[in-house]
Symmetry: C2
Subunit: 191 residues, 2 copies
């Protein structure tokens, strides 16, 4: 594994080198092509993913319409978490927007880690807490922010995303037309 990835992971998860070796020994590397599904709605999501390289989007489908839940890029975890944890069918698709390289961990391997040493329970707790806090912030943003504010936050917090994800998908995510997104970008001089 690239040293950079170890560094990033150990920044997220405060565990030492030895535990990190054990942690990653349970993952396997998988490559996906642009357009591949990491998770398919209606199927049980068997893996937790960590994105080594690439970008993916989580999409809900309702009445023939797509609703983009989230984009995920390099060095982020990705999963249909409820499905993965509870073993129930996923309620969304997770699709590769670019060719991707993921580290994936099966549910049973994760349980083995938990049983092996309390440090992994702690790791799991810290990741779940981080995800919970992120999602609380998403609810807050959906409640409080207009499209322009949401765009500015995206540009500030995740500039890579703005560059790498097609603009019509960013517009769909912000729930505005591509024309409105163009206007916002012009207004905010971030074009």
């Amino acid at each position: 594994m690239k040293p950079s990835i170890r560094k990033i992971i150990s920044g997220i998860i405060p565990i030492n080198e030895e535990y990190l070796d054990v942690f990653f020994s349970k993952f396997k590397v998988v490559s996906y092509k642009k357009g591949d599904y990491f998770v398919k709605e209606g199927q049980i999501s068997r893996y937790l993913g960590f994105i080594v390289k690439g970008s993916l989007m989580c999409v809900y489908n309702k009445d023939g319409k797509e609703y983009i839940d989230e984009f995920s890029l390099d060095n982020e975890f990705i999963s249909a978490y409820a499905s993965f944890i509870t073993g129930t069918p996923a309620d969304k698709d997770i699709i590769c927007l670019e060719d991707c390289e993921l580290l994936i961990l099966s549910y049973s391997n994760l349980q083995e880690l938990y049983a092996m040493d309390p440090v992994f329970e702690r790791t799991g707790r810290l990741i779940a807490e981080m995800l919970f806090i992120n999602w609380q912030q998403r609810v807050k943003s959906l409640l409080l922010d207009d499209a322009e504010t949401r765009y500015l936050k995206l540009a500030e917090n995740r500039p890579d995303l703005i560059q790498r994800v097609p603009q019509y998908l960013v517009a769909q995510y912000l729930r505005v037309s591509p024309e409105t997104l163009s206007r916002i970008r012009k207004n905010t001089s971030l074009q």
Copy 2:
């Protein structure tokens, strides 16, 4: 502690009686009056709460307007979690809608539990996972559901809430006028 509460808690957290005793020995019981603040925006939230009795609402404030994030009732956990975990100022108010009895746990007592036995790390992980999944579902509902659907889900999943929370606050939560909520209630025959 009432046996019913032990039963409910042990349903949420799969730990045995002995551990449950230790778990609750770290909590203290506090009473609040209707209108009291459990958390005040701008202050650090020092406690994780469990609602023995009563109802509370989490509210964001922006430009003189209130945005209701969530209602919480008996047998639910309550906190400004990001503030509690990170020790940063809370970005919302948590206000008692009725006289409340809460079990509260300080951050340092929680860390003591984590250090004491891995079962508490597991407990923390399971709670954080449950909260994360709940909040993912909230994002999904905000993206996909119209006010009528959100009302129907609320009435189905949390009928107590519809009965106990003032209707103008339910309307505010659903982001509709009180008149629209009245119409929805009439249409859905749940009045």
